[in-house]
Amino acid sequence: MTATTDTGPRRAPAVAPWLVRHVVPAVAAPVVILALWQALVRGFNVESFVLPAPTEIGAALAANLTTILAASVVTVQAVLLGLLTGVAGGVTVALLLARFRSISAPVLTVAVIVNCAPIVALAPIFNNWLGTASIASKAGVAAIMVFFPVLVNTARGLLDISPLHLEVMASMAATPRQVALRARLPHALPYLFNGVKLGATLSVIGVIVSEYFGGLANALGVYIAQMAALPRYAEAWAGILVAAALGLALFGAINLLERLLMPWHATVRSTAD
């Protein structure tokens, strides 16, 4: 039934070439790097303070797995709490700005400026306020660091909707509530996720820096710093490895959530390259 004069639909490319083009290089790169790393360290007898061999790090990781994982739990809890609080706050204020649009421009201007300040510097103050050992002081700093990019991005998404789409909604006699729910909010989702991705990185930085200013000794950031100072480099690198894996897992989880919530968007991007 397709019209002859119409150009056909643009279809997504088959899966196999996509795997070869995108997944294989991304997987091959670290394998090549690890092999080179091992070869260089062994071949040139590099001292372990410069760089331990991957096998040494692996052994240290296996030996200290319980300690490292216990430390990770403490850190991860604070990171997640901070991220969730910051995202919830940022989205709430963004929604308020979309509702009261006359104040949105000055508030966003100020938010952009405040966001330029190194908010990590608040870490010792939060430790004093909310208790050095409490998770609230760690998550608090992270939440504020997450709040601003999420606010700025989400507000932009809510406000940047095209006049055409607003007129389409008006022509269908949509109520303001329906316009917000069915047009502005879905339009802002990709923007929101950009903010969350930025926020995830910042949340980790906020928590680990906050740990550095004092707190529970069995946190991941503290463990790495202690091992580096001792010096037990293989252990330090094992900690870094776990921290990296956690960071990646968080990033991956956010990407997965993005694909689940925005199938239309993910499909667009998988073909664009």
Partner: protein
């Protein structure tokens, strides 16, 4: 075609920035009647206010003087009671909704139950011959197909009235002619009243019962040409002598408008 008046504009005027220094009279003393079942085109050079007139009818902007009734109501009442469907120059589909989801949106906003709006939306997709693409997302369709989805969306609430603002303006010639034929077929099967804005003489003549020619600065109705071509209007009509005669008549009227313009300028 009945005698029931669907659109009734009386001494309608629209001035932009009325109080300011740069006030522009977009519409001046517009008197226009559209009857049920008619296909009326608004034709004129850019700046003649044809789109503004349509937007006043659709309550997307309000007039500054005169009176207008749509379906016997004021435009706002007509809009909020969903008396009309509208197609814009761009499809204006929502990226995050499937083709089916886009078509059922008007019914969803009106609170129609899911199963009912689904089946209604499927009927509309059949009407625009896009049933196979219900599950696709808008970006997977060509421009012409997207505009057909927009037409299906405008029709899904079974409005008695359809406003179209240069809906085929962004398409290439082949797609345009094809969709013009489709539009006549849909008009014939739905018995909808259509008000159609265009700047193409041939398009206006091929589609309409009546072509309203407008002149700019200030925007007003210059003249009206009745189109009397045999039904059904198939592709052959485009090569018929009567078609050329009417196109010539409309073009002459349009040139008179443009000449008047130059004389003033």
């Amino acid at each position: 075609m009945s005698d029931r008046v669907v659109i009734d504009a009386d001494a309608l005027g629209k001035v932009f920035d009325a109080s300011g220094q740069k006030s522009v009279t977009a519409l001046h003393d517009i008197n226009l009647t559209v009857r049920a079942g008619e296909f009326v085109s608004l034709l004129g050079p850019s700046g003649c206010g044809k789109s503004t007139l349509l937007r006043v009818m659709a309550d997307l902007t309000s007039p500054t003087s005169g009176r207008i009734e749509v379906n016997g109501k004021n435009p706002e009442q007509a809009r909020t009671s969903r008396d009309y469907g509208m197609v814009f120059q761009q499809p204006g589909l929502f990226d995050w909704r499937s083709v089916l989801g886009n078509v059922e949106l008007p019914l969803q906003l009106a609170g129609v139950a899911k199963s009912e709006r689904r089946s209604r939306a499927r009927e509309m997709l059949e009407l625009v011959r896009l049933s196979d693409f219900a599950r696709h997302f808008p970006w997977q369709l060509s421009g012409g197909m997207q505009q057909r989805v927009a037409i299906a969306r405008a029709l899904t609430g079974s409005p008695k009235l359809l406003f179209m603002d240069e809906p085929l303006g962004a398409l290439d010639e082949m797609n345009r002619e094809y969709l013009q034929g489709e539009l006549l077929r849909i008009w014939d099967s739905t018995k909808t009243t259509i008000v159609f804005v265009t700047h193409s003489v041939a398009e206006a003549v091929f589609l309409s019962n009546r072509v309203v020619i407008m002149s700019p600065r200030p925007g007003q109705v210059a003249t009206t040409v009745d189109v009397d071509l045999p039904a059904p209007r198939t592709a052959e009509v485009r090569t018929a002598p009567e078609f050329y005669d009417t196109v010539t008549e409309v073009r002459t009227a349009l040139h008179a408008v443009l000449a008047g313009e130059e004389a003033v300028a």
